[in-house]
């Protein structure tokens, strides 16, 4: 018997026991004298089904999941090789509704290929974007990215093409491409999945950015909480060098592009782009005043393209299929697709790449299947720790940058964190202030001092000491933070705090708190 199996090596799949499953597969194969090739892939992003075991059949790939070691003997007995009947059988992988209804442009290969095999990458349309880019002028590459409508996926949604054009148009002896892989937002893991599941895509995107902007050196600033991604990227970069896809005269083009991974050190603020640049230069991650923009004076004082992982990883398909192809997805001014991440108290957590425009409700219920606990979903935090808490009455809002801004929320990096009706929204508001205090870079007073005051005011409010006065103080403080902060850490901390206060006022006043949470 010859078996070709696929099992993820994504960090979450490993955390759920994929390595034990792999061992059980080999033990079983040995016992049955079967020859097994086990391809370790990224994750398909259906985390409630991990470890997901797939088998290559004549009808394509068939999935079983979640497969734990004790299930493996039964699977072999059931005729795994032919997709035999078994309670864990899910059918053809790409027909699983959660996947079938997705529009995977950026995540097309993640979960499908071996992330460290350059040959696999090439066989699945990899490096076609770079080959096109090598035949284009820098200005044409930039135009293509601009025309695609691609906006930054790291949070601020700034048009990528405009940033690239600024770097291209700024004369300098040296330019840089920096990838922001700090992914500090709670509820987000698409950067991690992409780096672990398709690292060559990010390398290709950064190389194209280098050609477009005239930069010959790139850095990936990766958070140190991602050891798996670090290993995968390091290995993939070495392979790309060895095969001539990085370095001097890449692919015989007379163009150079060097790439290196640098690790962060557990500071959320280093995801802010100017703080990140400070950190890369070897200093405390303190936010810089703007202007100058990083596109004009960035890393080591040179013009720098700085983009999020997903922004850069979206570029190859734009070059390969054309700007119109990408722009045809989406709604309004939100073009293309966004890999949404379903997290928190949700039954079917995972990655959903869809064109902008589906509603939050569709995401939470059609994909997410409601809460994990089975209780009603009471609030959803979208866009990370600086994103607003959205109440159920707003779940019909389309996932679109402008529509979310319209309800005082933000899409950010596309993380969606669900809470059921046991959540204490006052505790969430308090945490937002505490987090701001913990992560403040210390440059401005409202953020540095005001956030600690914020925690104290919330504590007094919850203790019932002159609650009207405390609430007014809290609102004042938020006002000061909003207008007196240099960056969005201080500037947006009021979003989770005030949305909690405004949408869930009952959680903040003691009589009802006593009723809900006891004295």
């Amino acid at each position: 018997m010859n078996l070709r199996l696929f099992l993820s090596r994504d960090a979450t799949a490993l955390a759920l026991g994929a390595e034990d499953t792999a061992r059980a597969v080999f033990t079983m194969a040995k016992r049955r004298r079967a020859t097994v090739e086990l391809v370790r892939t990224g994750s398909r992003g259906l985390f409630w089904l991990e470890p997901l075991l797939e088998v290559q059949t004549e009808q394509g790939r068939i999935a079983y999941g979640p497969v734990f070691p004790e299930d493996v003997p039964g699977l072999f007995k059931a005729g795994l090789a032919h997709g035999g009947q078994h309670p864990l059988l899910l059918g053809p992988t790409d027909q699983i509704p959660y996947l079938k209804k997705q529009e995977r442009l950026t995540f097309a290969r993640v979960g499908v290929t071996d992330p460290l095999s350059l040959d696999d990458y090439l066989a699945h349309e990899g490096y076609r974007g770079l080959h096109k880019a090598l035949e284009m002028s820098p200005a044409d590459i930039v135009r293509s990215v601009t025309d695609s409508g691609l906006r930054g996926r790291g949070g601020a949604a700034f048009p990528a093409g405009i940033k690239w054009k600024t770097v291209l148009d700024t004369a300098a002896p040296r330019k840089y491409v920096v990838c922001n892989a700090d992914e500090g937002d709670s509820g987000t893991f698409s950067d991690r999945m992409l780096m672990e599941g398709d690292p060559f895509l990010l390398i290709e995107g950064m190389t194209i950015a280098g050609l477009a902007a005239g930069a010959d050196r790139g850095y990936i600033y990766l958070r140190c909480e991602y050891p798996h991604a670090h290993r995968t990227l390091t290995e993939a970069i070495a392979t790309a060098y060895a095969r001539g896809y990085l370095g001097k005269d890449l692919l015989g083009s007379r163009r150079n592009f060097d790439l290196e991974v640098r690790l962060g050190a557990g500071a959320y603020i280093c995801g802010e782009e100017t703080s990140l640049l400070e950190s890369l230069e070897g200093r405390r991650g303190q936010v810089r005043f703007r202007p100058p923009l990083p596109a004009v004076k960035g890393l080591f004082g040179m013009p720098t393209v700085i983009n999020n992982v997903i922004t850069l990883a979206s570029v190859p398909v734009i070059l390969d299929r054309g700007a119109e192809f990408y722009r045809d997805y989406g709604m309004g001014r939100s073009r293309g697709t966004l890999p949404f991440q379903l997290a928190g108290n949700i039954r079917h957590g995972g990655l959903v790449e869809r064109a902008f425009g589906l509603t939050l409700r569709e995401l939470l219920y059609d994909y997410g299947g409601g809460s994990l606990s089975g209780r009603p979903i009471r609030a959803v935090q979208v866009g990370g720790p600086l994103g607003a808490y959205v109440p159920a009455s707003r779940f019909d809002t389309p996932l679109d940058y402008e529509a979310f801004a319209g309800i005082g929320a933000m899409l950010g990096h596309g993380g969606v964190v669900a809470f059921d009706n046991t959540v204490d929204m006052a505790a969430q508001a308090r945490f937002a202030m505490e987090f701001c205090a913990h992560e403040s870079c210390g440059k401005c007073t409202p953020c540095r001092i005001g956030s600690t005051r914020g925690v104290e005011v919330i504590d007094r409010l919850l203790a019932g000491h002159e609650p009207d006065r405390q609430e007014a103080l809290l609102r004042d403080l938020c006002e000061t933070l909003t207008h007196g902060s240099l960056c969005a850490l201080g500037g947006l901390t009021p979003a989770p705090v005030l949305s909690a206060l405004n949408h869930f006022p009952e959680d903040f006043r003691s009589p009802s708190r006593v009723k809900a949470y006891g004295p």
């Binding site: 979450t12 893991f189 640098r262 405390r284 997290a343 720790p385 505490e434």
Partner: protein, 171 residues
């Protein structure tokens, strides 16, 4: 840098003592290997912490001299970043995710259980030197929290019972 509410205040710069010979060699190995990198300080600090488990305060003058920086600069960088530590950790480092997606599925209860069970708070090490407890704000495992990183290994859906089982399995 502003520390969180449950954490200790910044410690003042400590007086310099002689660095153990073996530690000194490791530090010099790191600076020799990495000093030519642009912005070498963070890579050097990572390399030192990887090799020694922490960045001894007595290594600061050496790192500063080797990289042509002032002691205050090096100290300032170490104290800014939550990941760098100035005291040796226990045999195992437990990082509990405190961020929102994990809160939504019971991280607060897990954190309390861990403190009670180990009898220590964050940034502390058990008396027997086995465990150091650290907070972390997201491990990218947000669809399957509560999340716990034990040394470099990630664990998903960790409840109190699972936590105890994991600890018992460790030397």
């Amino acid at each position: 840098m502003n520390r969180g509410l449950n954490e200790q205040p910044l410690e003042p710069m400590q007086p310099v003592r002689a660095l153990a010979q073996a530690q000194r060699a490791k530090v010099l190995e790191a600076t020799a290997r990495l000093r030519e990198l642009p912005g070498a300080l963070l890579p050097v600090l990572h390399a030192v912490q990887d090799a020694l488990g922490y960045i001894p305060p007595d290594a600061v003058p050496l790192i500063a001299a080797e990289l042509n920086l002032s002691r205050a600069e090096v100290h300032g960088v170490i104290s800014f970043y939550h990941y760098f530590r100035s005291a040796p950790p226990g045999r195992h480092v437990l990082q509990i995710c405190r961020a929102e997606a994990c809160q939504a599925v019971g991280a607060v209860a897990l954190e309390k259980h861990a403190r009670d069970r180990l009898g220590i708070g964050f940034h502390q090490t058990t008396a027997d030197g086995r465990f150091t407890l650290e907070p972390v704000y997201c491990l990218g495992n947000c669809a399957c929290g509560p999340s716990l990183m034990v040394d470099q290994e990630l664990h998903a859906r960790v409840n109190a019972q699972e936590f105890d089982t994991l600890l018992e399995a460790l030397p």
